[in-house]
């Protein structure tokens, strides 16, 4: 049994903008422990007067990168913790974290597939960790990512996903942009609905392992839709982000 989690002080070694509202923060950990794709770290901020705020952020990086993790975080305008990451935190600052956490919403190659991943906005982060893990594995099960974003500029990991899909016939990425689309856009242009889910199931193949992550309402609609389309509920795992996306 692993030892109980403890809070540790990490150091920010890199900050990279992914989209206008989303950045990835590399944290070097004094007590790094190999994580599994889908797990997260809890982050805790403490003000001088003792006031504390705590949030969970999914790990984006694969466990093969030892000693550090990437957390990809979207700036929520009226949030408490994400604005601190985007507006105040600098390389060299330290952040209190606890993890890796999670035993339910995790995937590793030994679990097999096919994989059907459904992401809304920054819900793509833990699913990207799964796809990065899958890319490094010898045996790659077929995988489909159904990815919903607001605009082209908001698509997190856009280029990396395109590169992964180009080089791998077993990976299919279905994109939908719900707010606006660039000229020549060939993907979907509306919220995830039944026909999109049906296409994703058809692309994934029989009896997929399903992971859905994003805003609560999107997750519920997708989970209900997939179960209605015949996916056994026990194979559907969800991670709701709450009311904000």
């Amino acid at each position: 049994m692993p030892e109980p989690l403890a809070w540790q002080i990490s150091t920010v070694t890199a900050i990279r903008a992914e989209t206008p509202e989303v950045s990835s923060f590399t944290l070097k950990l004094p007590s790094w422990r190999a994580h599994r794709a889908g797990q997260h770290y809890d982050v805790r901020l403490t003000a001088l007067d003792g006031y504390q705020a705590q949030r969970s952020y999914s790990i984006a990086s694969p466990p093969s990168r030892t000693g550090e993790v990437d957390l990809t975080i979207e700036k929520i305008a009226d949030g408490e913790v994400s604005p601190y990451f985007h507006d105040t935190l600098q390389v060299g600052d330290r952040v209190e974290v606890r993890g890796p956490i999670g035993g339910y919403f995790v995937w590793e190659p030994a679990l097999g597939g096919p994989l059907l991943l459904v992401a809304g906005g920054s819900g793509v982060v833990p699913l990207m960790a799964m796809l990065r893990e899958r890319a490094a594995a010898d045996a790659k099960p077929p995988a489909v990512l159904l990815h919903s974003s607001r605009t082209f500029e908001d698509v997190i990991y856009r280029d990396e996903l395109a590169t992964l899909a180009d080089g791998d016939a077993g990976l299919r990425v279905i994109q939908t942009l719900t707010r606006s689309q660039p000229p020549g856009w060939t993907g979907y242009d509306r919220r995830i609905d039944r026909p999109m889910l049906a296409e994703a199931i058809a692309a994934a193949g029989a009896s997929p392992l399903v992971y859905i992550c994003g805003p609560t309402l999107l997750v519920e609609a997708a989970a209900n839709g997939l179960v209605e389309l015949g996916v056994p509920p026990a194979q559907v795992r969800t991670e709701r982000f709450g009311p904000t996306s």
């Binding site: 809070w7 901020l45 403490t46 003000a47 001088l48 007067d49 601190y84 105040t88 600052d93 952040v95």
Partner: protein, 211 residues
């Protein structure tokens, strides 16, 4: 007795947290609270969906005869506007919230209360309960509201109707209230039975029991 601070807290550079400065309203903000402009939604479970045709409010327990009102009957009780400050134990306070509803004095006037009755358990659709001394509900200290800010009370904030007891922490203001049970003994409710203070006076910072 020597008290030692066991935790060497790590302070996050430049983190300030929620604004604490209440300015000229400071005297109206109970200790340890901060002012909010918004109206945070807190819950312990799914929002009940109660059709008005089946909604009812009851007063039961130590009364000569229990009473039941339908929605139409209950909202025909004498109602008035209320402007009150509310404080949630999670540290936010909102000033000058505007409601419309019926005073508990008028609700309880419809029953003959047994003299042994000293406590009340407020019961809600969805199963939530909270307990209060009967005296905290009398003399215009509490009301049942079905309007907030001039509009029908939204389900997220406790609609169709909720209890409002502004002089105690907001967990006592049971959302989706469906009735009151008058009792001789005190029955700790949903949060009172798991570490929260039995009475909850924000001005005495009665947040927890036994800390």
């Amino acid at each position: 007795m020597l008290r030692v601070d066991m935790t060497d807290r790590f302070i996050s550079r430049g983190f300030v947290g929620r604004a604490k400065d209440a300015g000229d309203k400071a005297g109206r903000v109970p200790p340890g609270q901060y002012l909010t402009e918004g109206f945070p939604v807190l819950s312990a479970g799914p929002t009940p969906q109660v059709p008005l045709e089946s909604w009812e409010f009851t007063v039961t327990g130590l009364v000569k005869a229990p009473v039941r009102w339908s929605w139409r009957e209950f909202t025909a009780l004498p109602s008035r506007d209320w402007t009150v400050d509310i404080s949630c134990v999670t540290k936010w306070t909102k000033l000058d919230t505007r409601w419309n509803g019926v005073s508990l004095d008028d609700v309880l006037a419809a029953v003959e209360i047994d003299p042994r009755a000293r406590f009340v358990t407020a019961q809600s659709y969805g199963g939530y309960t909270t307990n209060l001394p009967l005296t905290d509900l009398l003399n215009n200290q509490a009301f049942v509201a079905w309007q907030y800010d001039g509009a029908p009370l939204e389900p997220a904030h406790g609609g169709p109707a909720r209890l409002v007891v502004p002089h105690l922490y907001l967990w006592k203001s049971a959302k989706w209230v469906r009735g009151l049970q008058l009792r001789e003994d005190d029955e700790p409710g949903f949060w009172e039975s798991l570490g929260y203070h039995n009475r909850g006076d924000p001005w005495r910072e009665e947040r927890y029991s036994g800390d």
